[in-house]
């Protein structure tokens, strides 16, 4: 059995630069290759020296496959650096939406970094490198099984979160690891909920951004968001909402559109141009990656064609008097237009900034959320008076959602990444306690070894398996014979096993009796009225196909459809003596059935007899 070794190079007890190395046996896979927004030095990328051991070799001989879960930069931002600068020639797997959107965000990121450093960053990856890197990408469809080689295969599942986000399962032999990337278990206005089958991975590696949060109901959060915006613009203020161009932005735009329509508002709403329009087109093309509601109505009306939201023009709108709402990129106020707008608007206390997502340490967004109000922009000290609101709209699973994905996939081990140490520790304890599963929370560079206990292999003839499964698609209870012939174990139908091994059946007869209240009616009379009751009762029940046989006056016999089994109910009058030695006549119904029929049938009949006892003729 191959053992599993997992080490996070990034996102271990942290959010940012997700990069998790997984080895199953001798196969090595890298899940995600992200950057850290909080750093501007070497720490913004995962430490790939760990893999090469500091040699001047490339990663190619060390890694069999790289898998990117979705287009957020903290999951793909280091990809060109890894593949073109450190060097990796092997396959990179992602979904099609990720493949088309990822290079745009990388290019955007590249421009921000090189502009900010004003030429100091001489060794940053180039546009050419992004292109070369993307040529190594292979597209993975949902549920499509891709064989990387003879031993290693991968399969993608829908993750919600953002357009094209996927969870990935890798399998080598009997062992598998499911990596959730970022996922969301509740459908929203534009995406569906994450889903995976009960694939029982050896390890589930889950993100844990909201490990300790059970977010208040989505509705009230949305109402709150709209109320805050409405109040601010009513007072003549400007609302700045920093967002990533793709992802939550579309969700909030749809929300605001519908509200503006309903409330008949005419306050202008803008979206900083550039990526935004392109983004909308991606949502139109990949409508199958959105949710059922959008899919079902897209022919008649495309939800992403906004009526109220217009492109933001800096020269006109930045200092335009009066209220407005502006969605601006990027989301963490670390650079670009959102930061520029913030600088312009932050000194006016009438204005409001709503941070709808998580901000990484070191960004202006993060500092603002942690109460800082004094900033230095281009050498000028600025004191911020803008009203600051934080509302979590990032589409991550909360504690409930994480437990849900564990229940859904039934892993043998759980590991948390992409979260804060204390929070994931808390949830890990809960998982261990409530579900009895080993749960790991390694820090970056810390290795987790999971030894895989050997599994016992038993063979079963396909036909027998089919008979057991009947039409149930994934699980069915059964009784069988397990035979060990010294070489291998086989599950056999008892009839086949008995015949093959010349062993005789041991019959079991189950008996139960029901006492009837005292009365004078004879067993024959009792049986007549019981027959009537049974007739009305068994239609549509388990007994439907059982046929009455025999014509005994004091008993009812039912035969199984193939006539091989019978069930009987006998009415008897017993002469007994009470404690005073007086004659007493007791009436009982004796129900008897063989074990080789459905035990529930016997139970059903005895229950029926008990009911009969209440209405039996005196």
């Amino acid at each position: 059995m191959p053992d599993i070794r997992i080490v996070p190079l990034g996102a271990g007890q942290d959010v940012g630069r997700s990069c998790i190395l997984v080895s199953i046996g001798n196969k090595n896979v890298m899940f995600d290759c992200g950057m850290h927004m909080g750093y501007q030095d070497a720490r913004r990328f995962p430490d790939f020296n760990y893999i090469t051991g500091g040699d001047q070799t490339t990663l190619t001989p060390h890694i069999d496959a790289v898998i990117i879960s979705h287009f957020h930069l903290d999951h793909c931002g280091a990809l060109p650096y890894m593949s073109e600068q450190v060097g990796y020639e092997g396959p990179i797997y992602m979904t099609m939406p990720t493949k088309v959107i990822c290079p745009i965000l990388l290019e955007d990121f590249r421009k921000v970094v090189t502009k900010r450093s004003a030429g100091a960053e001489t060794n940053f990856f180039t546009s050419e490198m992004i292109k070369n890197c993307m040529r190594k990408v292979e597209i993975v469809g949902l549920h499509q099984v891709i064989n990387v080689d003879d031993e290693l295969s991968i399969k993608a599942y829908y993750a919600g979160h953002v357009l094209g986000a996927a969870m990935f399962k890798i399998t080598v032999g009997d062992e598998s690891v499911l990596y959730t990337g970022d996922f969301n278990m509740t459908p929203d206005r534009h995406l569906g909920a994450a889903w995976a089958d009960r694939c029982k991975p050896t390890v589930l590696i889950s993100e844990s951004t909201y490990a300790t949060t059970i977010r208040d109901s989505k509705r009230s959060r949305e109402r709150d968001f709209l109320k805050k915006i409405h109040r601010c613009v009513e007072n003549g203020g400007k609302v700045l909402i920093p967002v990533f161009a793709l992802g939550r932005a579309q969700e909030l735009c749809i929300l605001l559109e519908q509200y503006w329509d309903r409330m008949k508002l005419n306050v202008p709403v803008y979206f900083t141009a550039g990526l935004a329009e392109k983004a909308t087109n991606y949502y139109k093309l990949f409508v199958n990656w959105t949710n059922e509601k959008i899919k079902s109505s897209f022919v008649e009306r495309n939800l992403f064609d906004f009526k109220y939201i217009k492109a933001f023009q800096k020269e006109i709108h930045m200092n335009q008097s009066g209220p407005q709402v502006c969605f601006a990129t990027p989301g963490m106020l670390h650079a670009g237009m959102s930061l520029e707008i913030f600088q312009n608007w932050c000194t006016d206390e009438k204005n409001c900034i709503i941070m709808p997502g998580y901000c990484v340490a070191g960004t202006v967004g993060h500092r603002l959320l942690h109460g800082e109000r004094h900033f230095k922009f281009n050498g000028v000290n600025v004191t911020s008076r803008i009203k600051v609101e934080y509302m979590s709209f990032s589409a991550h699973a909360d504690a409930k959602g994480i437990m849900q994905i564990i229940k859904m996939t039934e892993p043998k081990n759980v590991m948390f990444v992409h979260g804060e140490a204390a929070k994931m520790e808390f949830l890990a304890k809960k998982v261990q306690k409530d579900m009895g599963l080993p749960c790991f929370t390694p820090a970056n560079g810390e290795t987790v070894n999971i030894s895989c206990p050997p599994q016992i292999k038993v063979k079963i003839e396909s036909d027998l398996a089919r008979k057991i499964m009947k039409r149930s698609l994934n699980r069915a209870a059964f009784h069988a014979a397990l035979v060990n012939d010294g070489n291998e174990l086989e599950l056999l139908h008892p009839d086949v096993a008995m015949k093959k091994l010349k062993v005789k059946q041991h019959h079991f007869q189950m008996n139960t009796s029901v006492n009837l209240p005292e009365g004078n009616s004879t067993p024959e009379q009792i049986i007549v009225s019981l027959r009537l009751l049974i007739k009305t009762y068994i239609d549509g029940s388990l007994m439907e196909k059982w046929v009455p046989v025999g014509n005994m006056m004091n008993s009812i016999e039912l035969a199984s459809p193939d006539m091989s089994q019978t069930i009987s109910i006998v009415a008897e009058k017993l002469k007994t003596f009470d404690t005073f030695g007086n004659h007493k006549s007791e009436r009982v119904l004796k129900v008897t059935w063989p074990l080789s029929v459905d035990d529930e049938i016997g139970i059903l009949l005895s229950r029926l007899s008990k009911e009969f006892a209440l209405v039996v003729p005196r």
């Binding site: 099609m96 022919v299 398996a465 209870a477 059964f478 009784h479 069988a480 012939d485 041991h506 079991f508």
Partner: protein, 579 residues
């Protein structure tokens, strides 16, 4: 394993059955009755032919249906009535685009047939009752929807395990958006099922031939139905006729299916007229489902050719239709009643149904244009060469059929190296040379069944060591080297892998058989071990609180009025019995 050919002509419909599983592959509609209807029984409402699957199998017994593309789905709604009556538990597998295009395709046919039928009923021609044609009426929408409710959509390359007996997996066939071939495994047999396969460049994603290699049986369907016409030449012919006609002030109609090759043709002809300096000639796509058909073509970038994928990643719509609509070059209407009479005057190009020219826009224009030799129909769909319309002067037959030629098929057989090749007899009418394939084909006449010998196979069930330790195996008297023991629990299957878990609860309503013998003393001891109090042995009777156990040599009677106690006693017996 039995294979039956249900296809009445070249439209595929096959039945695969073993004692444990019944799989139906494809079920097309046949429109030949439409043409027959028009020319022989003018007062008969239109009818279509549906494969007589029920003659070969109780529809309820079918476990799984696999569908290759929207053409081969359309015959299924006729079955859903009998499924509904008996609560069918089966599944129809197809790709998402196949499902969506089938919805569009079936809706269009339904509306068209209804339209003609209503017209016939209202016309004064029919003071006598309408005649009866062989074939089927369109099914109610409710029944169509019921049929779609059985569908589970799958992706290319997504293995589907069928009860541990078989598995199926779809691979792109290159024919249209979402179309596929299948690799089926039943018992020890690998069956490659090919339907409407093309290696030519189309708008759909490249065909995946490699995945079909080394099968035991190759079922080959859907070859080119008009071998004399190369797609390129037909397109050129159509372009020339189109240009000539509009130059002379006439209009052109293309009677087409609402998707498939028409998606390409629409682009090509708009481009072509523009190139010829006739960009002002308007294009109309007139069908009740026109809008949905074009919208759906744009949203499956994953299932499109590399060139179209490239466009999607820009991001632009993969097809130029939306651009043409934006520029006013292409207009879409649900039907001709939307104040369109004006546009019928000037030269224009029309796309719409139905290729048989017996339904829809083609039928209407067929009447209107009967006496106007200036206008032309260009039939680009295939399978309608025998249409008597085709003999008329204003009908140009230029079928664009991208499917395999005889030579292509023979080369492919050579490449795929199946052990056996299976074809439907009707295919030989158009591809007689297929007989000379490297692997001599086994020819199936309509309704023919052949029994392929196959061996039952074994599957592995994985079990945790802890689960296995709960089972007690005991040597058998006849063969002390062989051990046996009763095992109860749950069999789980996920991703084609069986696992066993020992949860005895939930197995009580399953038939159970035990074997061997036990002594009174042995059972009494075990009962005490299992926590029963006040055990008393009286001969072959063991008394316990509230009941007793009576032992015979090969039978045991358990008497107790509590269900749970009876089950506990039985568990003790299971432990005591020795073979």
């Amino acid at each position: 394993m039995e294979l039956t050919n249900i296809s009445s002509n070249t439209s595929p419909c096959w039945l695969l059955r073993t004692e444990s599983i019944v799989i139906l592959a494809d079920c097309c509609l046949d429109f030949s009755s439409l043409i027959y209807s028009r020319h022989h029984h003018k007062t008969c409402p239109p009818r279509v032919l549906v494969p007589n699957v029920h003659q070969y199998v109780d529809l309820y017994e079918i476990d799984v249906i696999i569908v290759s593309n929207y053409h081969t789905f359309a015959g299924l709604p006729w079955m859903s009535k009998s499924w509904k009556e008996k609560d069918w538990g089966g599944v129809i597998y197809c790709t998402l685009p196949t499902l969506e295009f089938t919805k569009i395709y079936v809706q269009e046919i339904g509306l068209y047939m209804e339209e003609v039928e209503n017209e016939l009923r209202n016309s004064e021609l029919t003071d006598k009752p309408l005649g009866n044609m062989p074939g089927e009426k369109m099914v109610e929408q409710e029944q169509v929807d019921a049929c779609f409710s059985y569908v589970k959509t799958i992706n290319y390359g997504e293995p589907i395990d069928l009860f541990g007996i078989a598995s199926v997996i779809a691979h792109s066939s290159g024919f249209c958006i979402g179309s596929c071939n299948w690799m089926i495994e039943i018992y020890d047999k690998k069956i490659a099922y090919i339907c409407d396969h093309t290696s030519l460049k189309t708008h759909a994603s490249r065909v995946d031939t490699k995945a079909l290699k080394d099968s035991d049986i190759l079922i080959l369907n859907g070859l080119k139905s008009c071998p004399g016409f190369s797609p390129d030449r037909s397109v050129n012919d159509a372009c020339a006729t189109l240009d000539e006609t509009v130059k002379r002030g006439g209009s052109v109609m293309f009677p087409v299916y609402p998707t498939g090759v028409m998606l390409d043709l629409l682009e090509i002809f708009i481009d072509y007229l523009a190139q010829m300096g006739r960009g002002h000639i308007p294009f109309y796509f007139i069908s009740p489902i026109a809008k949905a058909a074009l919208a759906h073509a744009q949203i499956y970038p994953e299932a499109l050719s590399e060139a179209k994928k490239e466009k999607a990643s820009l991001p632009q719509f993969p097809f130029d239709h939306d651009l043409a609509i934006e520029k006013g070059k292409l207009k879409i209407y649900e039907d001709t009643n939307e104040g369109l009479s004006a546009i019928f005057r000037g030269p224009a190009v029309f796309f719409g149904g139905h290729p048989s020219m017996e339904l829809g826009l083609a039928r209407k224009l067929g009447k209107d244009w009967a006496n106007n030799p200036k206008n032309k129909f260009i039939v680009t769909e295939c399978g309608f060469q025998n249409n008597t319309f085709a003999g008329r002067l204003n009908v140009k037959h230029a079928p664009v059929d991208t499917r395999m030629t005889t030579t292509g098929a023979k080369l492919m057989v050579q490449e795929l190296k199946p052990k056996e090749l299976v074809i439907c007899q009707a295919i030989l009418h158009t591809h007689p040379k297929l007989r000379e394939s490297v692997i001599p084909p086994r020819i199936f006449h309509p309704g023919k069944t052949h029994d392929f010998s196959s061996f039952k196979t074994y599957r592995d069930v994985k079990m945790d060591v802890s689960a296995a330790s709960k089972v007690t195996l005991q040597p058998t008297p006849g063969r002390p080297d062989v051990c046996v023991g009763p095992i109860s629990g749950t069999l789980n299957i996920s991703n084609g892998q069986f696992r066993f878990t020992t949860d005895y609860e939930g197995t009580s309503n399953i038939e159970q058989k035990l074997w061997g013998a036990m002594t009174v003393e042995g059972l009494a001891k075990q009962l005490r071990l299992d926590g029963f109090k006040n055990i008393k042995v009286k001969g072959r009777k063991i008394m316990l609180d509230g009941g007793f156990v009576q032992l015979g040599t090969q039978s045991t009677h358990i008497h107790h009025d509590s269900n749970s106690v009876r089950r506990k006693i039985l568990l003790s017996c299971r432990k005591t019995l020795t073979p």
